[in-house]
């Protein structure tokens, strides 16, 4: 949070003039038919992407010269918001005159750049970036139809953040190389999670295959394991007797958590340990002293306690305040 975040609500006023203009007067909307393709002596490609139930759809039409692979004409139809319409319109225009292979390299980031009024000012606000992603995906779809190959062969593997086109490998490398410990740092280093935020954790704008919180937890565990192979591992933890589980948690509380809380006049007691069927270990905790009733005790402090226990004892731990 900072001064610029406190009022909020900005959306349309952050559109570039080009975005607004193309929303009001898209140049390339409409349909192309076999008859049009015949006249131009090319092949008609029609690609569909998205679903109305998810908020936007796009249909891209190409007429491609089969001798040269050059896209001679492009048009689109779209069900979506202003960003979706403007981005698709710009994308269709950018396809014209390119070969199919060149067009297949256009990304939503290129489209967003082309829609900028000034080089260093984004064309759309961050939370609208994902509305341009479909413009990228539909090109891949059209290319796969033209080349008669499965679309999966054209897609980059394991994209974590569609808005900024950051792959799983890039996120993992950033965490390892820079020893990152928070999602905010991942965003700073890679831009993943900087736009629609869906990829940060479940429950966001759309469902994702990978979430930054999970990747971070997994890679951190791997890093810790490499650095400290002696420590109790999650598999081992679940095999411990309840008494030993409690001892392990108490030891971590004593060593890493209680001193920090005592600094602020607070404390914490372990009340219970329960393991769910899915392996989640619920650690029931009661706050003491100034932690009790402190607003932060269920937010920041709990996160700190939980993360420390995950790191020190078992990565399946969930803190429950009683």
């Amino acid at each position: 949070m900072a001064k610029s975040d406190l009022i909020g609500g900005e959306l349309w006023e952050q559109y570039s003039d080009k975005v607004a203009d193309r929303m009001n007067n898209p140049r390339n909307f409409g349909e192309l038919t076999e008859a049009d393709a015949g006249k131009l002596g090319g092949k008609l490609i029609v690609a569909n992407e998205g679903a109305e139930s998810c908020g936007d759809t796009v249909r891209l039409f190409w007429i491609v010269d089969e001798k040269t692979d050059v896209i001679k004409k492009a048009a689109f139809k779209s069900f979506g918001c202003g960003t979706a319409i403007a981005a698709t319109d710009m994308m269709a225009e950018m396809c014209i005159g390119k070969t199919v292979d060149e067009a297949a390299k256009i990304t939503n980031l290129d489209v967003e750049h082309a829609l900028r009024d000034a080089e260093d000012v984004a064309a759309v606000p961050p939370q609208k970036m994902h509305c341009s992603v479909m413009a990228y995906e539909v090109i891949k779809r059209a290319t796969s139809i033209y080349r008669n190959v499965d679309i999966s062969t054209l897609e980059e593997a394991d994209i974590v953040c569609e808005c900024a086109r950051v792959s799983l490998q890039m996120v993992e490398d950033a965490i390892r190389i820079n020893d990152l410990t928070s999602v905010e740092e991942i965003t700073d280093y890679t831009k993943a999670g900087a736009f629609c935020k869906s990829c940060i954790q479940p429950g966001g704008h759309e469902k994702r295959e990978h979430y930054l919180v999970d990747i971070l937890a997994r890679v951190r565990t791997e890093i810790e394991r490499e650095r400290n192979p002696e420590r109790v591992q999650p598999d081992d933890f679940s095999k411990l007797s309840v008494v030993k589980q409690i001892r392990a948690i108490e030891a971590a509380l004593d060593e890493h958590i209680r001193p920090a809380l005592a600094h602020d006049g607070g404390g914490i007691e372990l009340e219970d340990v329960q393991t769910d069927d899915d392996g989640t270990v619920r650690v029931h905790l009661a706050y003491q002293g100034s932690c009790k009733g402190c607003a932060g005790s269920v937010a920041g402090t709990l996160t700190f306690v939980e993360q420390t226990l995950r790191k020190e004892v078992c990565d399946k731990i969930r803190g429950v305040v009683v």
């Binding site: 109305e52 139809k77 779209s78 606000p125 704008h205 305040v321």
Partner: protein, 386 residues
């Protein structure tokens, strides 16, 4: 460009008579009503008058309390957190019942309590978009402390059966809170006829200023304060009273009640005219039976026309409306109301709300009808599905 405001469920224009009523309390009668001297003394009669207007406005009896708050969100948080400290925290009561239709100030306060071990049931609307007393009754257990159900829905204007729900709550000894933000000024709210324990409202939804609201607490019902630090409002809400705001809210409440008949005839007539004209468009769905809605609201879903794209086109023509599911919001879940009434999934992102007020004119409605038709034609030409 002349602008047309059809987003009155979001906020309203301040009635000029309300502005006139509050104006003297900025530079002339600016005393603190808790002061002993003449500056304080001269203000107090106006606050008593505002209280009279508010009590009369919602049919509160003299033994009940209406706490002046900064907004309905504050009132609601006071109720939800107060119930926690009074009951949920240390007694056998561990359960709150609310609905999926509620404003985020209810939903998020309840989510917050869930982190503290409170169980919350979020009732889904039925196929008419309503919550029935029967559904509330079935959800009540011996652990239930509070039921919180809105009086009228902001999105669709649907009016919920608060009387029946209140009877169920009374029968089971469960407290009832109702968010009446969308009800006041649109339908008769009379707490002599309907038994609720807590009711919250906000002045800016009925032509008062922003930043002032009320929390009704029935006589004998306890609730600890949210804000501590002074004896204002009988100790139930600390903080220097917003004198101009309170005077304005009293005046706005009085005017709202004076205009109820007008709302029910003239505003309703314009809304019906708009709705009838929209229903002539092919593949359009209006949510909720007309007779079950507040007279100022229509929520439409137009196949093939994405909601934000439509309000963009309306805004280009100076018309302000709003969409249920903005694609920029952090959650893309379909509006629960559209799911509940069994609308196609394809319609989930097409909802647009138009909400009128007593300041809406016939010419504005005529221009809106013309503009929506034009926009729907344009967007359907662009649309993949039309």
């Amino acid at each position: 460009m002349e602008r047309i405001y059809l987003d009155n469920n979001a906020t309203t224009i301040v009635d000029p008579a309300v502005r006139d009523a509050m104006e003297p309390f900025y530079c002339h009668m600016y005393g603190n009503p808790n002061s002993l001297h003449s500056f304080g003394i001269e203000v107090r009669p106006y606050l008593h008058q505002a209280m009279e207007q508010l009590y009369a406005g919602i049919g509160a009896s003299d033994d009940d309390d209406i706490i002046i708050t900064s907004r309905a969100t504050e009132g609601t948080n006071t109720v939800i957190l107060g119930i926690y400290f009074n009951l949920l925290k240390d007694t056998r009561k561990k359960h709150i019942i609310t609905t999926q239709l509620e404003h985020p100030c209810i939903r998020e306060s309840c989510r917050f309590l869930e982190q503290h071990g409170v169980k919350v049931t979020y009732l889904a609307p039925n196929r008419e978009g309503l919550i029935t007393a029967e559904a509330v009754k079935e959800a009540i257990t011996d652990q239930t402390a509070l039921v919180s159900v809105m009086w009228a829905n902001n999105e669709t204007g649907l009016i919920l059966p608060i009387r029946e729900i209140s009877e169920v709550c009374k029968e089971h000894g469960v407290y009832l809170h109702t968010d009446a933000v969308q009800a006041i000024g649109k339908l008769k709210v009379d707490l002599k006829q309907i038994h609720v324990d807590y009711l919250t409202f906000s002045a800016h939804k009925f032509h008062g200023p922003k930043g002032i609201g009320g929390l009704y607490i029935r006589n004998g019902v306890s609730l600890p304060p949210l804000l501590h630090g002074g004896e204002q409002m009988g100790g139930r809400r600390a903080g220097t009273v917003d004198v101009p705001g309170m005077v304005a809210m009293g005046k706005a409440m009085e005017l709202a009640n004076e205009h109820l008949a007008f709302e029910n005839t003239e505003v309703r007539r314009l809304r019906d005219k708009l709705e009838d004209a929209l229903l002539k468009i092919d593949d359009i769905l209006v949510v909720g039976k007309r007779e079950l809605r507040t007279p100022n609201t229509v929520y439409v879903s137009i196949r093939g026309v994405e909601g934000e794209a439509l309000i963009w086109d309306l805004n280009q023509n100076g018309i302000a409306a709003s969409t249920g599911s903005a694609c920029a919001s952090e959650s893309l879940e379909a509006s629960p109301i559209l799911t509940a009434i069994g609308a196609d999934k394809e319609l989930a992102h097409t909802g647009v709300r138009l909400s009128l007020s007593r300041f809406t004119t016939e010419q504005e409605i005529d221009f809106t009808i013309y503009t929506i038709n034009k926009a729907v034609m344009r967007l359907r030409q662009l649309s993949t599905s039309y």
